[in-house]
Amino acid sequence: MILAQRLGELISNAPELEIDIAIGNIALDHLGVARALYGHVAKLEGEGRDEDHYAMFRDEREFLNLLLVEQPNGDFAQTVVRQMLFDVYQLQLWEDLSTSKDRVLAGIAGKAMKEAAYHERFSAGWVVRLGDGTEESHTRTQGALDRLWQYTGEMFEGEQAVYQASWERRVKTVITEAGLVVPDDPYQRTGGRQGFHTEHLGHLLTEMQWMQRSHPGLQW
């Protein structure tokens, strides 16, 4: 949901028409998955809530998303580096969940997994192209990687630790192919899953939620 909103900010603002459409499509995929998951959660909770409740009427502290996805789009390098780091993780997560005993979740994950494969081809492809491009694009991509690296450790907290080794393998392959250097800064920020966010989430939610907050229940 949060990454869909971030990517949505780029629609009509991306550097090229094709990139604009790709980013719009990826945002839509993320949004669709979020809607399906929220709908499923609403049913499981059985308290008569709908998908909009979770997206529009929760406060910052109630969002348990990763800090990585709320980070600003920055320049194009930062957008695709953030996407690549996340796509590689998602691919494994959905693959795993696609065999869940919960059949609805398995169905949502099965579809999301196929879509994530397309996303990763886009994001990893661009990281390689930029890293292996001009001096300017190389410097910016390395900069984005160095800035965002501190938000990657959070993905593998708790039960998710099982994904870390294969994530690192794949991400390091992409980084190496791009002629970039894997950051060795051990400092990692965390807190997203406990509802402690960076300052960026509040601003994002303000924009995303204001319509429903100002006019609750408003429909198109």
Binding site: E18, I21, A22, G24, L31, A36, V104, G107, K111, E115
Partner: protein, 154 residues
């Protein structure tokens, strides 16, 4: 009982004829979006599945199914969205493949076997992996220069 069966056949036929708003030559049956039409507790239930998670056409399809049912006088019906098993392009029928090609969209299949819908030449060039809709990529024919959509393999 016979009349109920006949009635259900008519409902199936009408629902199967609902077209995809983005690719109007394709029906939801051709695309494999329509899973089944059944009667549960005396109520018509139409089961559909989304193609892409974020496909913006799903809401429209749901409305169009309701309209088709209303036209038959079936007002008390449920349109149910299911996610399991996940949709894939293998659900598109052979008739669907034929319709896509005649509409100028290369049907899904192995990326190396895409043919230009205009001149049938192989090895087109991919311009953009994400095309005009989530389900399509933008290609250009290396032989005749025709730009066309390819329905991505999923």
């Amino acid at each position: 009982m016979v009349s109920v069966v006949l009635e259900l056949d008519r409902v199936r036929e009408a629902v199967s004829a609902v077209v995809d708003p983005e690719i109007p030559v394709m029906t939801i049956a051709d695309l494999g979006i329509l899973r089944e039409v059944v009667i549960e507790d005396g109520r018509v239930v139409v089961v559909i599945t989304p193609t892409y998670s974020g496909c913006p056409a799903m809401r429209q399809i749901e409305d169009d199914v309701r309209t088709a049912l209303c036209d038959l006088g079936v007002e008390d019906a449920e349109v149910r969205m299911v996610y399991h098993p996940a949709w894939g392009t293998d659900r598109i029928t052979p008739e669907g493949h034929r319709k896509l090609a005649s509409f100028g969209i290369a049907p899904p299949g192995d990326e190396t076997s895409i043919l230009c819908p205009r001149c049938r030449a192989d090895r087109p060039r991919m311009i953009a992996r994400f095309g005009s809709t989530a389900c399509k990529a933008l290609m250009v024919c290396s032989a005749c220069g025709e730009p066309f959509d390819w329905f991505k393999q999923l």
